[in-house]
Symmetry: C2
Subunit: 390 residues, 2 copies
C-alpha cells in the first residue's frame, strides 16, 4: 500500500427534504451573502431554486443569482461569477445542480480569492490560497463533485478542457435529496452512472499491487452501481434505488476507493479531449466508448487484474486462460454500458478519424508526453486507443 | 434508506514515518501549545514519544505531557488533563496511543472548554460547546476512535462506563504508520480486530431493510478484516497486512458502514458493563464472547439477514432452511473470533452468574429500560444474553 493523505470534510445532509436545511446550516456556519449558482431552466421550473432561495431568506442570508452553467462548464461564466462575488462581497457559494454547476462553483470559489485571472490556476494547478466555502444542492448523481477535490473547466477560446485537484475547495455541505433525481431523463441518469463507474475503474487499474481494503471497498461500489442501475432506469421514482445511486456516486469519487493506490486517469484525459472538441458530448457517453477501448489496449500489462475484476464484479468463472478471462471482463464492461443505452463507438458521438489529430496537441498540453499509470501511454498510444474506439 | 447526516473531517496522513509530519501539520493549523497524552511505558520505551515531541519542538510548538491512560480510561485522569489544559493554556491535544488514549483525549478536549465538571457531559450527552482540536498518532488499530464521533469513559467511583457521540470532537488529524503496530502483542492485535469487526456487526444488524450501498461497503470491510487477520497474526511485521488492518479499523467505526441504517449497539452496551465491573477486561475480548450470544438470542427476528451475512462473508451456501443458515453464520462468527485466540465464554473473563445482577442496574442507568434495534431488548433479555454467554 502506498503512503497517502486523505481528507473529506464535507458535511452531508442526505434524504427527503434535505435541501430545506440549507438556510439554517449555512447561517450557523456564518454565511451572510451567497452566490446561488445554477444551470438551465430545470432548477427554476421544478421550483427547487425557489425553495433554496426561500430557505436562505428565512435564515436571513442575502444572495445574488447566477444561472446559465452549461454541460462542460466554461471559463467565461466562471469569470463573470468571480466578478460578481468580488463586487457583491459574497462569502458562500451555493451550487444547485450537478457536476457542471459544482465545478463552475469551485472555479469561482478559487477565483474570487485571488488577484490573477482564474484560468491561471488551471495552468499552474496552484493550491494553498483561500477559497470561498461551497454548499451543494445536488440534482444529478454522476460526477461526485459534491465531495471531490477535483474541478474541470473548459476554455473554448483555447480549445482546452482541463482540471486540477485542491482539497480546500471540497464543498463544506452537500444536501442530497434522492427525490430531486426522480425526473432526470434516462440518458442523463445513464451517463451519470457510467461516469461514477468509470471513477471506480480509474482507481482500480493502476501499477500498484492489490490493496485489499481499498480494492474491496471499490469492488463493493462497482457491484452496487451495477445492481442499482437497472432498477433506477426501470423505475425512475424508486426512492431506494435513487438513494443508493446518489450516495454511491459520491463515494465513487470522494477518494476512499483509491487510497493507497496510484490510480490511472488516462481514460478521463482521453475523454476530456472529446468534449473540448465538441462541448455537446456528454462526459459519461464519451467514457462509455473510450473505457473498453483503453482496457483492450492496456490489459496485457496485467491481465490477472482484469480477470480478478471480472470474477468479483460479474461473477465470471476463471477458464484457466487469464488473457481470455481479462477480455471477458472487458466485454462485460462494454455490455454493461450498452445496457444503459450508452454509445459504443466514437462515430455515434460524431467523432471521426480526422478528429484524432485535432485532439492530440491539447491532450499533450494537458497531460504531457506520457500519461497514465496501469500502462504509461505516449501520444501514439493515445492515437491507437482513439482509433480502436472509432 | 433512512435520512442521515454524516461528516468526517479528519485529515489522515497514512504510511511509513507518517508521525514525523505532526509538527509541520499542527503548526500550519495554528497550534502553539499541545497536551501530549499517552498511556503506559511502551510509547516512551519505543522512542515514539520522543519522536513526536521532537517533531513538535522542531515546529516551535510548546507542550506539556500527561501519561498514564489505562485501558478503559477513567474520569480521574481526564479531570487532571482538563485542569492541565486550563492552567497551561493548551490549544491542541496530541493523543499518542490507541482507543483508550484517544477517548481520554476526547474527554479532555471537551472538558477543557466548559465550566462544569467534565463528567456532566457523560450524563447529559450535550454537544454544541467548543472543544480543543485533537491530533492522533495511532498505535493500536481497534477502536476506530482516531476518526469516530464516539467517546467512552469509565467512572470507577460510580461503577459506570458510558459514552456519547459528538461530531465536534472527531480528531482533526490522524497520523497512521502501520510500522508502529509491528510490535503489538498477538492478544492485543486480536482483540483490536474483534472490536473492529464488532463495529461492522453493530451497523449491519438492525431493524432497517437492506441499504445496498452501505451494506456492500460494510460487507467488503468484514471480508477484508477476516482475510487480513490471520496474515497479521502469522506475520506481525507484514507491512501490507498491518496497513490493511489499520485502515480498515478506521473505516469500521468512522460511520460510512452504517449510514442510512438505524444501527444496533446493544452488544457494545452489554460489554461496557463487563469492563465497568472489571476494568482489566479487554473490550474486544468481551465482545468476542457476547456477540455470538446476542446473535443466537435475536436472530429469530430476521434470520434471512443472518443467512445473507453468512453467504456474503463466509461463502455459506443456502440450505433451504433459513434458520439453519442463520445459525451457521453465527457459528462461523464464533469460530472466527476463536481463531484469533479470543475467549468464547464469560467464565474465561472471570464473570460468573452472580455478576449478572450487579451489571443490570448500571446497564439500565446507561441505556434505559429498552435498548437495541434489531430486537428491542428489556433487562430480562439482557439477563438471558449474559446467561447464554456464561
Amino acid at each position: 500500500m502506498e503512503n497517502f493523505e486523505f481528507v473529506s470534510p464535507t458535511h452531508f445532509v442526505f434524504g427527503r427534504a434535505a435541501e430545506e436545511q440549507i438556510g439554517q446550516k449555512l447561517a450557523a456556519a456564518g454565511a451572510t451573502k451567497a452566490l446561488v449558482h445554477f444551470g438551465g431552466k430545470s432548477a427554476k421550473a421544478s421550483g427547487l431554486l425557489d425553495r433554496v432561495c426561500a430557505a436562505l431568506d428565512a435564515a436571513g442570508i442575502a444572495y445574488v443569482e447566477l444561472g446559465g452553467v452549461r454541460p462542460n462548464p466554461e471559463i467565461t461564466l466562471v469569470r463573470h461569477g468571480v466578478d460578481l462575488c468580488k463586487r457583491e462581497n459574497v462569502d458562500w457559494i451555493v451550487a444547485v445542480g450537478g457536476g457542471s454547476v459544482i465545478d463552475s462553483a469551485k472555479a469561482i470559489a478559487n477565483g474570487a480569492c485571488i488577484e490573477e485571472d482564474v484560468w491561471t490556476l488551471f495552468e499552474s494547478k496552484a493550491t494553498g490560497h483561500p477559497t470561498l466555502p461551497i454548499a451543494v444542492v445536488l440534482t444529478i448523481p454522476a460526477a461526485g463533485s459534491e465531495a471531490s477535490k477535483n474541478v474541470v473547466i473548459s476554455n473554448d477560446a483555447l480549445g482546452r478542457k482541463t482540471g486540477y485537484a485542491n482539497n480546500d475547495h471540497r464543498p463544506k455541505f452537500a444536501f442530497m435529496n434522492p427525490e430531486l433525481t426522480f425526473t432526470l431523463p434516462p440518458f442523463q441518469t445513464a451517463a451519470g452512472i457510467t461516469d461514477m463507474y468509470a471513477h471506480l475503474l480509474e482507481r482500480f487499474f493502476d501499477d500498484v499491487e492489490a490493496v485489499p481494503v481499498t480494492d474491496n471497498l471499490n469492488l463493493s461500489l462497482m457491484k452496487t452501481v451495477r445492481a442499482e442501475a437497472p432498477r433506477v432506469l426501470a423505475d425512475p421514482e424508486n426512492y431506494d434505488a435513487r438513494a443508493n445511486i446518489m450516495w454511491a456516486g459520491m463515494l465513487c469519487h470522494q477518494g476512499l476507493a483509491g487510497v493507497g493506490r496510484h490510480e490511472d486517469w488516462a481514460t478521463h484525459a482521453l475523454e476530456h479531449e472529446l468534449s473540448a472538441l465538441n462541448p455537446t458530448i456528454t462526459h459519461g457517453a464519451g467514457l462509455a466508448v473510450l473505457f473498453p477501448a483503453w482496457m483492450e489496449y492496456v490489459c496485457g500489462e496485467n491481465p490477472a487484474r482484469f480477470a480478478y475484476y471480472g470474477a468479483q464484479v460479474f461473477g465470471l468463472a476463471p477458464t484457466g486462460d487469464v488473457m481470455a478471462d481479462a477480455f471477458s471482463a472487458i466485454d462485460e464492461t462494454r455490455s454493461f454500458f450498452a445496457s444503459l443505452g450508452m454509445p459504443t463507438a466514437l462515430a455515434e458521438l460524431g467523432i471521426c478519424e480526422e478528429d484524432i489529430e485535432r485532439m492530440i496537441p491539447t491532450l499533450q498540453a494537458n497531460k504531457g508526453a506520457i500519461f497514465g499509470s496501469f500502462k504509461k501511454l505516449s501520444m501514439d498510444d493515445a492515437r491507437a486507443i482513439y482509433r480502436r474506439a472509432l
